[in-house]
């Protein structure tokens, strides 16, 4: 559609371009940028990956006569509840960063993003402690080994897949924090980053319930 034809239609003043052609903005998604829509599409596909893992976990567990074998340690609910609270706090710091970015407070955005990255780093430290032990014995030392049982394998697969998201999310936050400090990141970029980080929190809420609590 040409720019003239669009202007003649008189529906929208906002346009975006594909292959050099101007297209009208889509009234169904308002002023959402292509980057934001792209992130939502990525998050949906990622959510189905987690959905597949949780579904496999549920089927294996539902069809298993003995889920928790003798000699295998139980998962630490209290410690992981602390990690859950940590991720919730980091979601709050992220939403504060997004709100400040929308208001144009770049220095506050840097501070909130740095705190969010700290939350991510602490979560990863906690997960390392849970697996391998830092200040006390980890699950691997207590006899929970990948490949020994469905209980162990699904636990490590699901939590490490989530941990990989926390790791990449923390890197993503650090890069964006630097870009923001240099004045290169705009509010849209911070909002897209926020979507990813909140998704990581949302998935953990489900993993915590299905893998640790049930």
């Amino acid at each position: 559609m040409s720019a003239t034809a669009t202007a003649d239609a008189g529906h929208h003043e906002e346009h975006h371009g594909i292959g050099g052609h101007l297209l009208p903005s889509d009234p169904s998604v308002g002023l959402a940028t292509s980057g934001k829509i792209g992130m939502w599409i990525f998050l949906l596909s990622d959510a189905f990956s987690f959905g597949g893992l949780l579904l496999a976990y549920g089927i294996l567990r539902g069809g298993s006569s003995v889920w928790h074998h003798e000699g295998e340690p139980s998962l630490g609910i209290n410690f992981t509840a602390g990690l859950t609270f940590l991720l919730i706090c980091s979601s709050v710091t992220m939403v504060m960063a997004v709100a400040n970015a929308a208001e144009g407070n770049k220095s506050k955005v840097t501070m909130w993003l740095a705190l969010t990255a700290l939350g991510g780093a602490l979560f990863l430290t906690g997960q390392f402690q849970e697996y391998f032990g830092i200040w006390s014995e980890g699950l691997t030392h207590e006899g929970l080994h990948f490949g020994h049982s469905s209980y162990a394998s699904t636990f490590y697969l699901i939590t490490s897949f989530h941990g990989a998201h926390v790791f990449s999310g923390t890197l993503y936050i650090l890069i964006t924090t630097l870009r923001n400090a240099r004045g290169k990141a705009d509010a849209n970029e911070i909002e897209i980053l926020g979507l990813f980080w909140h998704f990581v929190d949302l998935i953990w809420i489900l993993v915590f319930t299905f893998v640790y609590l049930l």
Binding site: L31, T33, I37, G62, A99, T209, L213
Partner: protein, 107 residues
């Protein structure tokens, strides 16, 4: 929100209220404590009630994060439903397949 109402442009410098975020944070914190309390074996909660309560609490918490923190609540209806609706199908598959696996085990 109707499809006629525009979302805020990310570059607009409008002041955003922090109160809803703090309320959601408080609820997420309270629900997490409640989950742990329900899940602890020492509480002696019946298995059926425990499973139902934990699933409802987890889905409520996830919905709060998606609607308020990810701002789906204030997005256009088409975008909101494009994100939320696809989750109905995996949930349905989960109920059918896990029930079937459990039924085979019991029978």
């Amino acid at each position: 929100m109707s499809t006629d109402a525009p979302t805020s442009a990310p570059t607009e410098h409008a002041t955003h209220s922090r109160r809803p975020y703090m309320v959601i944070f408080g609820l997420l914190f309270a629900f997490t404590i409640l989950e742990v309390a329900v899940a602890l074996p020492s509480m002696g909660v019946a298995r059926g009630f425990k499973v139902s309560a934990l699933i409802i609490l987890a889905l409520t918490k996830a919905a709060m994060v998606a609607l308020w923190f990810m701002h789906l609540k204030s997005e256009f209806k088409v975008l909101r439903w494009s994100v939320l609706l696809p989750f109905a199908f995996p949930a349905l598959y989960a109920v059918v397949l896990i029930s079937e696996a459990a039924w085979r085990l019991l029978s």
